[in-house]
């Protein structure tokens, strides 16, 4: 049975990674699960310099999901390389580094730095974070800006580039196409949804940042549809995510057109989820006599 998949030049031993920002820098969960069983580890978003992030409260629980406005707290490229890379470098599985910037030049510079580092599995361009004033979602909702970011990163690195798409667009196709045309090797669909919650007793927003990103099972049906729409628009592989809690959820994303999937919010409440998903995909393939996981990709039957 073959579970391995290719994301550009990146080979994953199985189609399951974790979503950026929900798995720290890999080491934290290594005490609870065998990280080397994942298809890849994806780390929290990094820009060039350290970022303090937003004031608290940064998360709030909502129905079948959560809001977050972490504000991309992070150690910057140097801090990351010093503190977290030694652990990640030693893993048997590749690391996908989620990067961002406030300008096209910064994206490219970060890409260049990680290219130079050596040993990185792939770069994921976060052009869709709803929680920062600059450098966030606007790159992900305008095909021209998106194209500039991807083009600049493409020129800066030969590492596989994964463009992480914004969910709140009327039509994801032109953006997906723009990323593909600019040289992206894959798409990640989708980031969190701009949202908010108010505590009616105190009248205060539940997040200090007021708005944040909605993630978790609540968004799954929207994310699956975005994956399907994107997969029809491009030829490059898609990493599907949004509310995956179990193998059936993951298979749903694969059937909709994803080549791989990422487990996000579920890590927080059930750190075993990603490994359970891998085991469950294997069981499903056995039961359905599927020899290669790639056969599942896009295999749903839209005709009646």
């Amino acid at each position: 049975m073959n579970l391995s998949v290719q994301i550009g030049k990146l080979r994953m031993q199985n189609p399951v990674t974790v979503a950026s920002g929900t798995f720290g820098y890999g080491a934290e969960y290594a005490r609870l699960i065998d990280v080397n069983q994942l298809g890849a580890v994806t780390v929290k978003g990094i820009r060039l310099n350290p970022v303090p992030g937003n004031p608290t409260p940064r998360t709030a629980e909502v129905t079948s999901g959560m809001l977050n406005a972490i504000g991309l707290q992070g150690p910057g490229v140097d801090g990351f390389i010093k503190k977290y890379w030694p652990f990640l470098r030693e893993l048997k599985v590749p690391t996908i580094i989620n990067i961002w910037g406030t300008t096209v030049e910064e994206y490219a510079e970060v890409a260049r730095r990680f290219d130079a580092l050596g040993g990185v599995g792939a770069l994921e361009l976060n052009v869709s974070c709803p929680n920062i004033k600059e450098g966030g979602a606007q790159f992900g909702t305008d095909p021209k800006l998106l194209s500039q970011v991807v083009t600049a990163c493409r020129a800066a690195t030969t590492l596989p580039l994964i463009t992480k798409m914004s969910p709140n667009v009327p039509n994801i196709a032109p953006l997906a196409k723009a990323a593909e045309d600019a040289g992206s090797d894959a798409l990640a669909v989708t980031n969190s949804f701009p949202a908010m919650a108010i505590d009616v007793n105190t009248r205060k927003p539940k997040l200090a940042n007021i708005t944040g990103g909605l993630t978790g099972p609540a968004i799954k049906p929207i994310a699956v549809k975005l994956v399907w729409e994107a997969s029809k628009a491009v030829k490059i592989p898609i990493i599907g995510m949004g509310g995956i809690q179990n193998a059936d959820d993951a298979i749903e994303f694969l059937m909709a057109g994803a080549t791989a999937v990422a487990v996000g919010t579920a890590n927080f409440y059930e750190p075993q989820t990603s490994l359970q998903v891998i085991a469950g995909i294997r069981d499903f393939m056995e039961k359905k006599k599927i020899s290669d996981v790639k056969e599942i990709t896009g295999s749903f039957l839209p005709g009646k």
Binding site: G21, G24, Y29, L32, S64, N68, G216, F268, E270
Partner: protein, 261 residues
Amino acid sequence: MHEQTVQIVSHERDAESYFRLVLRAPQIAPLIQPGQFAHVRILPLKDALLRRPFSIFQVAGDTFSILYKNVGKGTQALSRMRAGEELSVIAPLGHGFTVPKAGGETPLLVAGGYGMAAMFLLAQRSTQRGIVFVGGRRRVDILCEKDFAAIGWEVRVATEDGSHGEKGFVTIPLLAELKRTAAKRKLFACGPTPMLKAVGKIAEDFNMPAELSMDEHMCCGVGTCLACVIKVKAGDSWEYQRTCTEGPVYDSRQIVWEGTK
């Protein structure tokens, strides 16, 4: 740190909305240090997904217990669970208190409401006896008096409505005691943030050491999500640290209070 599906051994109401829950957790129990917490997934909750953090209250053999207050949908669902049912627990988590040693400073423990839960194990493991100051709104919010007495600790009580002990905040009997003497004494506190802030201020005023267990909303509990941060001094400046990992217990001198609730 382990993730374990654990069985409820017993579950009893303590007073009004407080409950004592004993869990069999053979892998976890031996590892627990005072001030650490358990991150609990309450399985009957279905549309509320996140785990809830609770200080570890007592440890006995292969069991540990928590003492919690029913304040919202998670603790409400928990309070309906019975012996024999299961929870998922990640524990022990966080960086706990420095356990006082015989001959060292005399520990003065300060607790507000469910903050008391974090104190018992500290008192029990301490080889130096001290005094527990406990505050709450009403008589029912004063927990564990007997438990502390049973291990030979003195308990001083304050209630906001005066229904038990002194009337007012817990800092009133504490200040009275410190005015007697603050020398060779150390504060350990757990409770609502305003209380912690007041204790931090007192420690500063008396120039004495204090360890505070901070109460921030948590999400992952293990350091990955960056939800639970507080501002901690770093050189001339500050940095955000994770109360679930670097905390919840901090030396009060490290904490930057600006921005806390």
